[in-house]
């Protein structure tokens, strides 16, 4: 699992925010476009690409994209 690719996949779930604005340290909930729907998209993306089922709690406990990345990496079997 690559950090760079994960950031790209994360950024791809946003419609209005430019992909270049995302880095592994991005505090994603500060992004204006962030909503409960984006959260569903992230959960579905992680499930599809990494076969890891995140909960809403996992997302809410994370601050940066890296926090989610680490959580997913720890759950990949």
């Amino acid at each position: 699992m690559e950090k760079e690719k994960f950031v790209e996949e994360f950024a791809a779930q946003f419609e209005e925010t430019d992909a270049n604005e995302f880095s592994i340290k991005t505090a994603f909930r500060d992004i204006e476009e962030w909503s409960s729907f984006t959260m569903l998209l992230i959960i579905a993306m992680v499930n599809e690409k990494y076969h890891v089922k995140l909960t809403g709690e996992d997302i809410r406990n994370a601050k940066t994209i890296e926090d989610i990345y680490k959580n997913v990496a720890s759950k990949i079997v």
Partner: protein, 248 residues
Amino acid sequence: MSNPFSLQGKIILITGASSGIGRSIAIECSKSGAKIIITGRNPERLSQTFTELHGDNHQQIVADLSVDDGIDALVAQLPILDGIAHVAGILNPMPFNFLNRQELDEIMNVNFYAPALLTNQLIRKKLIAKKASIVFVSSISGVSCSFIGGSAYSASKGAINGLIKGMALDLAAKQIRVNSILPGMIDTGLFEGSAISEQDLMADRKRYPLGRYGKPEEVAYAAIYLLSDATAWMTGSNLLIDGGFTLI
């Protein structure tokens, strides 16, 4: 004078009875005098429901209705039924762009194929009595509205909406009635551990004109009504119970 809303002496099968609305329907129907047969996937939770039933001679059968073998095994153990409440269902919010065949199969299997095929088997084996009542717990989603990430769930409930109308016609000759209940959001813990937070749910409750989500027993009372002889001339109907949600 006898009470037209009583279920005294009726034998009623309730699926999805391990929790939530199914558990509540089982308990309330037992209070109304029915002999209850409950089924569900989780033995521990099904037993929990079983201990909460009023009266005697009830039965519990663990079965996984998402596979044909599970349906067959259940049907093989059933007596002739006076009523069925199809409650088993799953909800997995999934944005449309991430849907795939596997996700659709999973939700359609539990929410649509299982109740349709179970009833079909019961009809074929003549295990549904004349004048029986079949109740599907559907949803406002898929009939009147939907929700974010709810396309697959809504499709499964929309399918039920069509199914009951055709079934009601085809089974009318046997005087078997088929109706559905369309609940709005009911407090059942369905979203525990999901993407939806308690905070989101609190905000969502305020969108209901009656100011709260429904209680499982409020769906159960509607099920009793539809299962009882009070609705002997009611078939193919959707009974809306949504705290006014779809009015606005």
